[in-house]
Structures are given as C-alpha cells and as structure tokens.
Symmetry: C2
Subunit: 335 residues, 2 copies
DNA sequence: CTGTTAGCGCTTTCAG
DNA sequence: CTGAAAGCGCTAACAG
C-alpha cells in the first residue's frame, strides 16, 4: 500500500510561523485568546502551506468524531433516498458527516453495522426501518451517545422516535375505497419484519373489519420490493373479484397498475388502487396514483431526525417522539 | 455535551488479562505471533469486558481510516441510488465504510465536500457526476491517495475513470426514432455542467446532423431534474410538430409521457419517447418506456468503481478506464 | 512468543 | 496572551 500522502501538520505550521502548536490550534479553532497579529500570521502560514487539520487526530483528542452513523434497508428506495437527503443536509450544515450503511434487508448485516458504528465512535446513529427485533435494536442504541429511529420498534426512552400512525392512515385508505364502491379489498405488503411492514399488514385487516369488509389471508399477499406486479397477478388469480387494492408503497402500486393494464382490468373502474409515500413518479403515472402522503415532506422527515439527534448529542433534547401523519392524495387511480 | 460513554480500552483488557497491550493488539488483529492459549484468554477477556476497538485511534496510528468519501449530486435519484448501493456493498465487504455527501447540485458545496474529505483523511474518494470543471476536480483528486470518478471530466492519469460513450448511445436513440418515422426530434436535458449533461446535449445535435435531421436550439430544452413535464410542454408549444423526444433520463421521460397524455398526444403514434437509465419504474409506465440501459447494471457500475478504488489504494491498479455502453431497450413508448 | 518504547496529530490543562 | 507537558487509544519497531 502506498504511503499516506505526507500532509502538513500543526507542528509544521507552528515551526514556520514561529509560534507554539497550541497557538496554531487556538487560531484554528478560534478558541482561547491570541492577538489579532498572530492570528493573521498563523492563518497566512496555514494557507501558504496548504494546511488541512487532521480530523482523525482531533477526534481522538476530543472524543468527538462529528460523524453520524445512518442505517437504511435500501438506499435506492425512492422513499429512503429522499429522507436521507434531508438528514444529510442538516448534518452537513451542522458540521457532521454521514456514515451510510445499507443493510440490503439483511438483519445479520444490520447487526454488523451497529457493531461497527460503535468501533467508529460515531457521535450518534439514525436508524431507518430496522429489520431487527425491538430488544436487539435497543441494546445497540443504548451503547450510543445518542440515537434516533424512524419507524422502528424500540424500547421507550433510549432513542428519539419518529413514527407513522398506521392505523389512522390505513383507515383513510380503506374508507376511501369503500366510499368509492369497492366491495373486495386486497393488500400487497412488504416483509413484515419492519414496523411499517407489520403495522400496515395488521392495520389493513383491522380497518377492513371496522368498516365491515371481510378479509382473509386470501386478500393479502406479501412480496419483495420490486415484485409488486407479480404479487398483484397472484392476488387477482386467487381473488378475481378484487376491486380495490392497497399497496405498501408506490413502487408496488406501480407494478400493480401495470399488471391491471396487462390484464385489461381498468383502473379505477374495475380496480381502484392506493399506494403509500407519494414518490415523485406517483403523479406521473397514467392513471396518476392515489396515495397516502406524509404531511411532512420526506426530506423534512430526514431533517427532523437529524435535528433530534443533534439535540440529543448536545444534551438539550426537547422532544422524544414525533408522530407523523399521512394525508390522502386523491388522484386518478382511486378517485 | 454529555461525556463520551466510557469505553473499554486495550489497556483495560491487557490489565485484566495480565498481558501487555501489544499482545492484546496482536490477538485483535490476528497479526504477529502468540500462543493459542493467550489468544483464547485474551479473546475471552475481551468478550467479558465487551471490548470494542477504537477505530479512531487505530486510524491515527496506522494512517489508514478504512473510510471512503463518496460525492453524489443527489442521493434520491433512482440512478445514483442504485449505483451507491453497489459501491456501498463492495466497500463494506472489503472492510471499508462509506462517508456519503450529497452536493444537491451545488458546486460550492462540492468544493467544501472535497476539502472535508481531505481533513477526514479518507483512504480514497468516489465522485459521481461532478458539477466541477475538470481542472478544479482534478486538483482535489490529486491530493487524495486514490480516486475513481464516474462520468466526470478529469485530467488523465489522476483517477480511475468510468464513463459512458454518449455519442454511440445518442446515435442509437436518434436512429431508432428516425427509423420509426420521426421527422422532428426534440431533446430535454439536464444542467450541462456535468459530463453526461453536456455530452448528451452535444451528441444529440451531432447525431441528428449525421442522419440529416435538422435541429436548432428550438428543439432543445433544459430543465431541473423533476421538471420534465413542464419542459415537454414548453417544447411542444415551441415546436408543435415534434414527433420524437429524447430525454436525459427516465424521470424526465416520465414527466414528458404524462404531459403527452394530458395534451392528448398519443405515444408512440404522435410522439415517440426515449429515456435514459432504465430505472425500475420505466417498464411499469403505460406505455412502457423505451430507454437506453447500461449493459452493466447500475449496481455493478457502483461495484466496479469501488473495486477500482480499492485496487488503487492498494497500489495494484489494473485498469485506469472503463467505458460503459448503453443498449436500447425497445418498449411501447418508441417501438 | 512477549514486552517496551515511542510516536500518530491534535487538544486539555496548567504555568508563566 | 502564549508555551510546555501530558495524554487520547492504538500500533510500528525493536528487544529480549
């Protein structure tokens, strides 16, 4: 391995500027006191030498890394991608960097990531839609200086907690479809190891029962994130009379929409479809997708998570919990 | 700020295990020699104490951080999201972590990111679709131990270089539309500060001229990444006879598709549309989108970048350049 | 096979 | 306002 490119150190700057390392450090951090004259001089020498402080050394000395670990099941999901952008922006503005790990929906990988974040001495972690059971996730979070989770099961009090009220959302979807005249609803879900996966599944059943629509396991099919189309086919085969479909997210809904087109089931006349998330492409589909959208933008959700985390790191945490609500965006697929 | 959670150090383990710190270090890294007996004992004590090595300290001592800086214009883009997943996976498998920064298409931010990566002493950087001029980007990359860029302008020899042959791709698109009977082509592009943005723009003009289709600035419109629909409207207003449309990417194409629906221009009968990237949703659109897809999957592109970078870090770089080719995926929007 | 010494580059603390 | 000394937790290099 090639030698690390030799970099200028504080000592180099100190020598050339004829001051002590401490003076350089003080100027660098604008902390402590020094004359304006030395300040100018030191800054000048720094620029001249092209000095870049070594954050690794600083981290070791201060026990702060200014790094935040972020775990996500899938970077390429339209939903997570937006949330991550919001998180990254706020962290950046506050001088923090994001160490991003993709679990690829693999809980062993998630275990390993949580361990590594400990070794990296990150100042805090943000976890999106964990696939770990609540107690296991919690035991990792306890070891961190600060943590915020979005749509995860965790023991109370150990992390900032942002989550969606899935019962309320699902009721909106089910009632909307019922009012549109649907008699037989179907649900296409994702793996149920996550909070949202489990909640949407369970709340679909509950919401249907509440309004007197009969459901059984026949009306429900679980699929991988890009297999919405196949799942819809299976569902229509099993329950041909399905006339309303709720999908875990808009990607799955898009697959279902396409399959309806292929099977010549008209949307919304024969089947009405509702998705979740209102991803960018949802309104561009034909028919445009009716969907449950968070009242807070996805980017803002990520930003809130970042702010909560930074508050917790600095010990001035105000809120411990933020409940997110969906609103129904009525478009052509389920008017 | 709350005190750093007190963590076990190698010294603690050494003391409890009645050996020197070096012995613990050797066992930890499985490097150097030690008896099986001490190994067992040390490992046992480590587990007992819940010891986690401090990577910050290790980085300072070894001058290796096992961190890679990755810069991307927009995490939430369907294309970049997939590439990033590939990069992250390979880095992870090789023991590296990804420090991810989103420039939000802001070149000042990109400057700042490149500076910060230097201070973080990352072992290498991957840059996706930089918005910086070639010479500026190059001067940053020179300071890094290793670098790989995807679709960026850089001076030769200073970074691994992965890029697409845009002339070839654009020729395929233009010829395909011409053969389908289109007489008046339009192009909807993205900001031209990036390699692909500029190339697709220029090569569209060139490819049209080659096959004898007349183009002028009227046939071309530039827009923001989520404004494809608006751009299409403007184009149709300006050049109503447009009967073939090439879009910088599939998100833009989806917007154009939707606008055609709203304007009652039939696709492909009245207007044929071709996109780029073959994002997951492209084939789910109605009509399904004809698009230029990389022969290498997006995830694999990211993985190749990661592998190239690791090779360069370890000084055994084989390839300096990888040229990516598109293939035309013919679907309903331009059969 | 194991221990000792001396840093890595910075900051904290205490003196002046 | 400035400097000297010590140490963050680990490992390279040398001894034994």
């Amino acid at each position: 391995m090639p030698k690390q490119k030799d970099r200028i150190t504080i000592a180099d700057v100190a020598e050339k500027a004829n001051v002590s390392a401490m003076t350089v450090s003080r100027v660098l951090n604008n902390k402590g006191s020094f004359s304006e004259e030395t300040r100018q001089h030191v800054l000048h020498v720094m620029r001249e030498l092209g000095y870049r402080p070594n954050r690794v050394a600083r981290s070791l000395a201060t026990a702060k890394t200014l790094k935040i670990g972020v775990v996500v099941p899938s970077i390429s999901s339209a939903y997570f991608g937006e949330v991550l952008e919001g998180t990254e922006r706020v962290l950046w503005e506050c001088g923090y960097h994001m160490l991003l790990c993709n679990t690829a929906v693999d809980s062993r990988r998630e275990h390993a990531v949580m361990d590594l974040f400990e070794e990296d001495r990150v100042d805090g972690v943000v976890v999106l839609s964990s696939h770990l059971p609540g107690d296991e996730l919690s035991s990792y979070l306890k070891k961190q200086r600060a943590a915020v989770v979005i749509n995860c099961d965790v023991e109370p009090g150990i992390a900032g907690h942002i989550y969606t009220d899935e019962l309320k959302s699902m009721r909106m979807a089910v009632k909307h479809l019922q009012q549109a005249g649907c008699k037989c609803l179907g649900y296409i879900g994702l793996a149920i190891e996550t909070y949202a996966g489990r909640e949407r599944h369970d709340m679909f059943i509950r919401a249907c029962e509440e309004v007197g629509l009969s459901v059984s396991s026949d009306n429900i099919v679980i699929c991988d994130r890009r297999m919405g189309g196949l799942a819809a086919r299976r569902l229509f085969k099993r329950v041909p009379e399905t006339d309303g479909l709720i999908c875990f997210n808009d990607e799955i809904a898009a697959g279902a929409l396409r399959v309806c087109f292929e099977l010549q089931r008209r949307v919304p006349e024969d089947v009405a479809i509702v998705g979740f998330d209102d991803i960018f492409l949802a309104e561009l589909l034909v028919p445009a997708l009716t969907t449950l959208r968070l009242k807070t933008t996805k980017q803002e959700v990520g930003a809130i998570a970042a702010r909560m985390l930074l508050e917790r790191i600095e010990g001035r945490s105000t809120r411990d919990e933020v409940v997110l609500e969906h609103e129904l965006v009525v478009r052509e697929s389920a008017p």
